[in-house]
Symmetry: D2
Subunit: 348 residues, 4 copies
């Protein structure tokens, strides 16, 4: 039993999060990739969709409806939001489900409906889904059947903000998150603004005051603060493929100092394998975590008295998606939390 492989399926294997899940799963000591589904590419080999898998032995892509779930232990779901819920609702009960979409992240169905423009179609499952921010929901994740992995931006922002809000060190109602992401955060869809010629050699904000990761952050920050808060979240599209960095601007609670913030984070993440304060003299950069499951945090005093500048960075496809999914998988199956996630960042 000790060595038995845990059989997994990836639903939505033709997107970037699905692909990064496969990349990591292929090197995981205990995973066996048994099923890959991708409805629009059914019948193709995996390397026809992602040639970087040419050297791997992988099952062919099939339709989700054609999957035989017997003998499968866990499912990773990398579908676009709003399509995951119905698929997941239809899966047999014996499957553990790690969802990388947005469908089960919001606890309040009214908030979901407001931001996604449609009523939720799997409310029973939504109630039992556990928010998969590993470092903050570890115990619940261990016992969960369905884990809703956080968005890439919420992971980067919340790992920084939650300890500080919980410890009462910052004003939760004056949080401004200026976020920057590589283009892979937008997925593999054919949109003009994602062309090399359009996204290259330039940058712009997008989704200003309307990005769907905002309510997810507000849910968690509000919960930590014990009251409803609204935050500013302003993402920017950066000419790089991978990586995400949040620069958050906050007001210190009365009497709190930047050193208090650093101590709070050190205390929250002491012993964590993947979340680290930047060493003395190192400014976080996406380059330092690219391709890895690591998160790098740093806090700075603002020149404006009573304010601080918080920087957090991760790889949006790894800790921001597929890596955190595997971290949660490891928890559920009682494996070392770092299994399959030991990869050092790829630099340069």
């Amino acid at each position: 039993m000790a060595d038995r492989k845990i059989k997994i399926a990836v639903i939505g294997a033709s997107g970037y999060t699905g692909a990064d899940l496969i990349r990591l799963a292929a090197a995981h000591p205990r995973m066996e990739i048994a099923i890959l589904t991708a409805n629009t590419h059914a019948g193709k080999k995996a390397h026809e969709v992602f040639p970087h898998f040419s050297a791997l032995e992988l099952p062919p892509l099939i339709k989700t409806d054609d999957a035989d779930w017997r003998g499968i232990d866990a499912v990773f779901c990398g579908l676009p939001h709003a399509t995951s819920q119905e698929v997941i609702k239809s899966l047999p009960d014996h499957l553990k489900i790690i969802d990388m979409s947005a469908d089960f992240r919001l606890r309040n169905p009214a908030v979901y409906e407001k931001w996604y423009g449609t009523p939720h179609k799997a409310l029973d499952l939504q109630k039992v889904a556990v928010y998969g921010l590993t470092e903050h929901y570890r115990d619940a994740i261990r016992k969960a059947r369905l884990v809703a992995c956080p968005g890439c931006y919420p992971t980067a922002a919340l790992l920084m903000l939650l300890p500080l809000v919980k410890d009462g060190l910052i004003d939760a109602s004056d949080v401004l998150i200026d976020a920057k992401s590589g283009v892979s955060g937008a997925g593999r869809s054919l949109k003009q603004n994602l062309l090399f010629t359009e996204a290259g050699e330039g940058l712009s904000p997008y989704g200003i005051a309307s990005h769907r990761h905002a309510p997810e952050m507000e849910q968690e920050i509000s919960k930590a603060a014990g009251r409803e808060v609204i935050i500013n979240f302003t993402p920017h599209l950066i000419p790089m493929s991978r990586g995400e960095l949040c620069t958050s601007y906050v007001r210190l609670a009365s009497g709190a100092t930047v050193d208090d913030l650093a101590r709070s984070l050190e205390s929250a993440y002491r012993g964590e394998p993947f979340v680290h304060l930047a060493p003395e003299g190192i400014t976080p950069a996406t380059q330092f975590v690219r391709g890895s499951n690591h998160v790098m945090l740093a806090v700075y005093a603002d020149r404006i008295p009573g304010r601080a500048i918080l920087v957090s960075t991760l790889d949006n496809l790894v800790k921001g998606s597929a890596g955190q999914a595997i971290q949660n998988f490891n928890l559920i199956f009682g494996l070392p939390e770092t299994s399959g996630l030991e990869q050092v960042a790829l630099f340069p």
Copy 2:
């Protein structure tokens, strides 16, 4: 006389701002490039330092001390800060001087000394230098002998903020400027973090709470506000060569709305050839101004009540440096302000 060419010199012609000055000057209908200096490259042809000038007829690079200033009308100075002041002090009185360095931007010598770590060495000139933010100092620039062109970041931030502060629409003491710049903003110096392999495919903040463009912005915002303010200015290095975008987070004055901000900007820049509010439906992007002297502005309501998000973008080497320098030159010499600056942005 109408057609007489105005003879110019470029001091510091081997840096990127000097090069962009040459690029624009070469196409200017009334300029003649008579002298190029670059002490470390003296004796070389211009195209040996910048091969993209191969097809131009340009004077060779000489040492500044070897220049013969007789017959020269104007000097553009693209030297690094702290070295400009002594060179400029030594220039003959008949020369009009447009300085692109930081040396004459700060009015208060104590502030200069604090941020640059050395006393100013040309205090007499500093007193008469005019701050070259064209749209806000036009009348003074026309009569100036020495114009201190603003830094690239201050130009992007102040064109947005000054009208709003002057009109009392935002709280000048709660201004947070999250800035993003291409790598050319750091000049052509050989630093490890500027290598393609280090700066590519990634991003990071730098100069947190310590960048020298902060006091320059504070000087102008304080003047507009009628009181001393401290701002937050946090720049980030982005994997692109040119372009700069400031996302500023501000608190509205009591009773003010985002529509008021838009009206204030429209009023301030009506008829301006280079500063524009983004058309309906267009989000500013550095791609839309690359290589041009244009600035694109946009204002957005924050989801946090009473707050707004301000976006401004320009090309750091053009409106952020050489282009604005030529705009000021045109003012000084009574030429149409757009002379030599009609280039449309290069996209893609």
Copy 3:
């Protein structure tokens, strides 16, 4: 009359070649942009399709069928190949036509049909079209009604090869052209391989032994050689937006030397405003011609005796398309050939 503006139309104004035509035309001293057509975007303002035109006064986009050609002098056509011929056939006789598509480049209808998979639908026009490689067909272009501007790759390759073949210095049947292009060469179409995430940080060949620019080069080289030749043309997609560089590998004719090649090129292009041998010590790079109409050439001896290495570079959207189109326009209308094309390369 001397100052009368020449009224132009751009058909296919929503593609990159159309856009670069507009960029250059807007700064041309004698052009007036009177009509812009783009069938799928009809009704939009130009800046809704290309926001970098926000600061320009441009006519709205209309359907080609809705254009009123009275008073128009010249038409630039930037449609995809195979769609240009029928549109151009329908244009009134008084219009001069400068076509940037591939439709009228091949003289032999059978070759056209073989490579484009469909019979040509405007054979009468094809017969009178002049190949718009300006430096080699100048006299014919001056008198032409319809100019077929060469492809970007053929322009880069032929400017290098034609003088050498004509002078009998290289073996025309042993020409290998390894070409590298930025992504804008593929246009603005929504293809997965053109996404930033797919084309970034990597490179690959494409169209191996099947690219449609090959027969165009073979037509011209064969004509220069006085016999039918087949060439190797192997393009590669490079992670940059603009620019093209051909490295050609050739066998010297018996007794010929690399110095002979250099002299042949010097002789062919002496006095040309846009085609230059790289100065001593400078290796051609796309960066040195970006955004300009210039071409840089260099020849090198191979270590294999009797062989040479030829390097030519240009901006695929300028000299490779819209710039050369304007150069031909200038010829047709008796203007200085450099009108509107004086822009220096944008570097960095």
Copy 4:
């Protein structure tokens, strides 16, 4: 013993090849990184030089002269060429040495001196060094004390060419290798042409007819051909950090076909874990091997009769350097050849 860690040292740990060696070694199941040397950074922690190592436990950087070699099993040497030979000469006999520099690749001291401009200083070692092109020198590597890992370009080119030359399918005296490399191939040195602003958004050839990887390729191709040959090798600098692709143009031997080439490669690399023919329909791209030890090969018929186009791609820092070094280490120590090298390519 089965589980005993093999203690390694990395000499020259502050360069990119050293860093990638550390990245891979840190995840190797049997390696223990015991010593890191970097003379100019001695005294620093590894993460001060490479912040992406922040989460690893690594020994501090020391001077090579200060290393205590007792208990160390193997040394990886990542020094620049010409400096490796004297350092390696001084190492104690019990150490296995895997050199990633160029110092021991050339068998003929006269050729070394001609291309490197200085006599070799460790001729005794040079004689016994084994060329570390794993797939072609496996048996010798197993028994070697000193392995001279090939250059990145030679690895990419020779894996393609050697089987074809050995099988007599191509003319070894008419081989043209147009190579394209990311900027990391030039190392971490501070050179102007390696700045983001200079190398970005553009490309150029370099080292034309003078690159030091040419004699290395000629040595191996000549050996395979049984006669001295000269090749054309023309590298280009591409705006990406990692990756290398060689497009080789060859003349088929009389009677040989492209299918013969494919069969030759299939036969040569059947069962190889890292060298693969591209699957049907896939064109090799550097993106598909980035960060991995894999090589992708493909052959195409030229339109010129009797000629073929060969494409090979790899990651210059992995199979082109540190990965192949570890592959050789695995051979020497009797480990599975894929140990520590199972990483799938990082895409996007």
